[in-house]
């Protein structure tokens, strides 16, 4: 990591959120540095997705502060995207009856620079050649892996400062998962910060710079990917 790594891009302080009376996350604090890949791990029901929903504006937090690039993060999804945070939602959420190209164009709906859009389009096609081959097809006709690629590419089309992914490995063959993890690495190397929420702990730990482990709404551990990977107790206790 370069010296840049000490600039915090995302800072979450004492965040809590609930569904009705049930607390899904409770007093969570963490940070993400510029250019890092940070993984948020945990078993089912640990509160990972809720955390991401709070960050993306889909769910209202009950307490706490979120600041992005030194400013408080706004409350609505579209304002958050405007600030440079893209979300690749859980379950891919492709627009089925739009073509692959149209899906990508929705990703850059807030941008006006035609040349920049064209450039980024070539960039994501280079990253995922399958998408270029299938650009005129409906998104719903893609395979699971291709849909995940499309979801990531769509997120990148907004040219985000930070990309947040919710379980990109869900329901995919191991070989595709490896491919996607490789791509995330190259995205991070090109300067986009990544916050990865994952259940596939091993893969995520191999990839990330730092990781947090969540359990029933709390952060119970943090450390570098290597440290956590070496800690067998942790794997047994929380991740399985």
């Amino acid at each position: 990591m370069s010296e840049k790594s000490h600039d915090t891009i995302l800072k979450v302080d004492h965040l809590s959120a609930a569904y009705g009376g049930i607390r899904a996350i409770d007093d969570i604090s963490f940070y993400v540095n510029k250019g890092e890949i940070v993984a948020m791990l945990g078993a089912n029901g640990a509160g990972k997705s809720t955390l991401l929903k709070c960050l993306s504006g889909e769910h209202k937090r009950s307490a706490g502060e979120i600041s992005f690039n030194g400013q408080p993060l706004p409350g609505h999804c579209h304002q958050i995207v405007e600030r440079g945070v893209s979300i690749v939602p859980e379950g891919r959420q492709i627009f089925y009856k739009l073509t692959v190209l149209e899906n990508l164009m929705v990703g850059c709906c807030q941008r006006d620079d035609k040349e920049g859009i064209q450039k980024d389009l070539e960039m994501v096609y280079k990253m995922f050649p399958r998408l270029e081959e299938r650009k005129a097809q409906f998104g719903g006709l893609l395979s699971g892996g291709e849909q995940q690629m499309l979801a990531i590419a769509r997120g990148l089309m907004a040219r985000p400062k930070m990309l947040m992914l919710d379980e990109p490995s869900l329901g995919l063959a191991p070989i595709i998962v490896n491919q996607i993890m490789e791509t995330l690495k190259s995205i991070a190397e090109s300067g986009t910060t990544i916050l990865l929420v994952e259940q596939n702990a091993k893969k995520a730990l191999e990839l990330c710079d730092r990781a947090y482990v969540m359990n029933v709404g709390h952060i119970v551990m943090e450390g570098s990917g290597k440290e956590l990977l070496a800690d067998e107790n942790l794997m047994q206790a929380y991740l399985g």
Binding site: S86, I87, K97
Partner: protein, 288 residues
């Protein structure tokens, strides 16, 4: 040049095409169902009629007033109801449509009540209606193929993902709603200047249902499908006019057949050029 029977058919078709195109943008592209668009037609019709008769405005200004009035009411209603989900939004629209009808029935000294509003000048000739329908189609086509249309389609396909990609869902939904109301108001204004005499019954719940059915029948997500659907729904009863009572039976059977054989509507998610491309492709691969 053209006799009054055919003129009537052309004007009715064109007026309905305009209203259905608005419906198509709302339902076919944004997936918001409204059973209250006859209410917006009524607002457009009465506003245009009153502008013409009371204030002696020129025809095209009266039509614009009608469309704008419908748009303003839709904006206000949309601000209240657009956040409602699915069926709740639908019910609120249904209630609104009925409110408008009943209100026009009771405001006797302004609208003439059940007797209707008379003395509207005859201005909507078949040429005017046709020109308006073509203009409406071009406007809708350009809207759908702009970034607004893309946002509408994204909301239709997946609201959560649309929001996650930076689309202001509430804003675009409201825009789509206002657009459909403006088209309904436009259609209503034209219709008033064709009939010369309008009553609230013209814009009742069955009329709203007819607009929705036409849109679904023509195919969701297809503007050319909406035009085709309107022609089918409007012309079919004319073809079967000889069979008087039984023509509604034929109409019902036709609707059921389309739903069974083509569940996505006549042209679901396909425009006319796509259809031609598909057919020619099939032929060329079949021949090879």
């Amino acid at each position: 040049m053209i006799n009054s029977f055919y003129e009537g058919i052309i004007v009715t078709c064109c007026v309905n095409i305009i209203a259905v195109l608005g419906m198509s943008v709302l339902t076919g592209f944004t997936r918001l169902f409204s059973f209250g668009n006859a209410g917006f037609m009524a607002i457009g019709a009465y506003t245009a009629a009153i502008c013409s008769v009371q204030f002696h405005l020129p025809f095209f200004l009266a039509i614009i007033c009608g469309a704008v009035a419908a748009g303003i009411i839709a904006y206000l209603l949309g601000s209240l109801t657009i956040r409602l989900r699915g069926d709740y939004f639908l019910i609120s629209c249904l209630g609104f449509g009925e409110c408008v009808r009943v209100l026009f029935l009771y405001l006797r000294n302004i609208t003439g009540g059940a007797v209707g509003y008379t003395g509207i000048p005859y201005r909507t000739t078949w040429v005017v209606a046709l020109v308006c329908a073509v203009a409406a189609f071009i406007i809708a086509w350009n809207l759908i193929h702009s970034r607004f249309g893309q946002a509408f389609s994204a909301i239709r396909e997946n609201e959560v993902a649309a929001a996650a990609n930076g689309i202001d869902v509430v804003k675009y939904k409201k825009m789509s709603f206002v657009f459909s109301a403006v088209f309904a108001g436009w259609a209503g204004g034209l219709y008033a200047h064709y009939l010369q005499h309008i009553t609230p019954v013209l814009f009742n719940l069955p009329k709203s249902c007819e607009l929705v059915i036409t849109t679904v029948l023509g195919g969701l997500g297809s503007l050319t499908g909406s035009v085709l659907g309107t022609l089918v729904v409007q012309l079919l009863p004319e073809f079967f006019r000889k069979f008087s009572e039984y023509r509604m039976l034929a109409y019902g059977i036709a609707v059921v057949l389309v739903i069974l054989l083509r569940p996505a509507g006549l042209m679901g998610y396909m425009e006319f050029p796509d259809l031609i491309r598909k057919i020619t492709k099939k032929k060329s691969t079949g021949g090879a």
